[in-house]
Amino acid sequence: MNLFPKNRAFLAEIGNLARFTARFFREAFRPRYEISELIRQCFIIGYKSLSLVGLTAFIMGLVLTMQLRPSMVHYGVEAKIPAMVCIAIIREIGPVITALIFAGKIGSSIGAELGSMRVTEQIDAMEVSGTNPFKYLVVTRTLAATLMLPVLVVLADAISLYGSYLGVNIYSVLSLRLFIAQVIENLAYYDAIPAFVKTFFFGFAVGIVGCFKGYYSTKGTEGVGRSANSAVVMASVVIFILDLLAVQVTELIWDY
């Protein structure tokens, strides 16, 4: 029964997260919207992540193509490389890899930022001064993350497919037009739309977990590092759980 206290702590954490999420929705829909702060957070969270996400996406597309190539050549379906790569990128790799990078960069920064604010008692000071710290800090960041990750994923998919196009052209010659035609031919709405929709949930998960960990940071400066770290780990796990749920829900709704 040594495990029991740990389990209880884990369950308590889940419960607190659920409560935190409920509070987010309560606060988010009540008036006094912090629009300018939201836009500032969008800029920081979205735009500033583009270079990192773009680089990883490009490398991902290129490497995936090069890694798949020997097997595809072995089975004599070299011509199907664009089809295979585009399905992999659009349906799974684009959203998930981008979300993980996003969690690493944004989840940790939110966790550390809010954690240090909590530890240095800035959040308490906000409360005293009449500003709703939850609205100003948590809602804006979570919303920004929710809205920016899909944007990043769309751009990352495009960059990734371009990387894949270059990967194909390392070994053989394929016009960009034919590549795009093959990608479009092998994709349908039921590939693109669920993949796009799930990125909102990924973004929301990264934002809410980061805020939760930072908002309830304890134990001084040591706690800040821990909240940043656990924010990334938990956000990543939640992303994978959501991905699993997304594919099942998609199967249910879209009976293809």
Partner: protein, 329 residues
């Protein structure tokens, strides 16, 4: 504040770029699935659609012009496939086009091929039903192959039996095991060779004879080469012909004679008719013959008596002696 504006501008560009990309992507996907173009529906009747599902492409002459909307099993032998075709096909396709199920590549998706028939027909209209062309499906091929396999099995079984019988056959084994066979064969071949040699010699002799004959040597040669002989032969043949002609004439005369006799007979005239038809005459002739026989017997008796008569005895004795003498010599 100026920095805030520039940041917002960058954010705007960032979001708009992604939005534009997303819209473009979704539009291209939609155009590929022809969601935005005008369409009309036709139906095709199949017996077997071989795994066709809604969403598969429809082709005319290898160009994708629509998609399968619905595959419905109406009864146990009829599948109705609803096909949505691009509007421009209304001026291209005709009512008598045939539909067939094909495959995109060797292992690709199923497609419906619409095959134009080179016969006049009105243009296709929405709601038309087109007929299916029966295609060789993989299953049918496999079924035929299965039959072939069974046949091969029967054949191979027969072969096994035959080979078993060959193996079991003591005669054949004896034939194969017999060592003297090869010797005999060798001897037979030697004989054959000798016979051939002899035949060759004979042929050479014959050749020599033929050459001799051709040159007019020997009696045959003379016969064949002598021109006077040929002439005589000719004459003989000609004479034979005249003889034949005369024989012919004779035969004609005979025939007229026989005809005369025959007509006589028919008409009841002449002695022959009397002889042949008159039973009284026949009896008389018989009696005459009987009398003649009797007469002859009597004469023989008289002659015997005469032999013993003293007047003639000497003559007969002399005759007897002469006969003996001739026999003794």
């Amino acid at each position: 504040m100026a920095k805030r504006t520039i940041d917002n501008l960058k954010l705007g560009i960032f979001v708009l770029t992604a939005l534009a990309l997303l819209i473009l992507f979704l539009y291209m996907l939609g155009r590929n699935q022809s969601i935005f173009s005008k369409r009309f529906e036709i139906k095709a009747h199949f017996e077997n659609v071989g795994g066709l599902i809604a969403g598969n492409n429809v082709r005319v002459s290898g160009i994708v012009v629509g998609i399968v909307e619905e595959v419905a099993l109406v009864n146990d032998t009829l599948v109705v496939v609803t096909i949505a075709l691009d509007d421009e096909m209304r001026t291209v396709l005709r009512k008598n086009a045939l539909a067939s199920i094909g495959t995109d590549g060797l292992i690709g998706n199923r497609v419906v091929n619409l095959l134009p028939v080179r016969e006049p027909a009105p243009l296709i209209e929405p709601g038309d039903i087109i007929q299916a062309q029966k295609d060789v499906s993989t299953e049918e091929m496999l079924r035929t192959l299965d039959q072939t396999n069974k046949n091969v099995l029967v054949i191979s079984r027969g072969l096994i039996e035959t080979i078993g019988r060959i193996n079991k056959s003591s005669q054949l084994a004896a034939l194969l095991d017999d060592e003297s066979l090869s010797q005999n064969l060798g001897a037979a071949l030697a004989n054959l060779r000798r016979a051939t040699g002899q035949a060759d010699a004979t042929m050479q002799d014959l050749h020599a004879v033929v050459v001799g004959v051709r040159n007019g040597e020997g009696s045959v040669g003379a016969l064949l080469r002598d021109t006077s002989f040929a002439y005589e032969l000719n004459q003989t043949v000609r004479k034979l012909q005249t003889v034949e002609d005369q024989a012919d004439l004779l035969a004609q005369d005979m025939r007229t004679l026989v005809q005369g006799v025959e007509s006589d007979l028919r008409r009841g005239q002449g002695p022959v008719r009397l002889l042949l038809t008159d039973s009284l005459a026949a009896a008389r002739v018989q009696r005459t013959l009987g009398n003649l026989e009797e007469g002859t017997a009597r004469f023989s008796e008289d002659m015997e008596a005469l032999k013993h008569n003293f007047l003639f005895r000497r003559y007969f004795r002399k005759l007897e002696k002469q006969k003996k003498k001739a026999g003794g010599e």
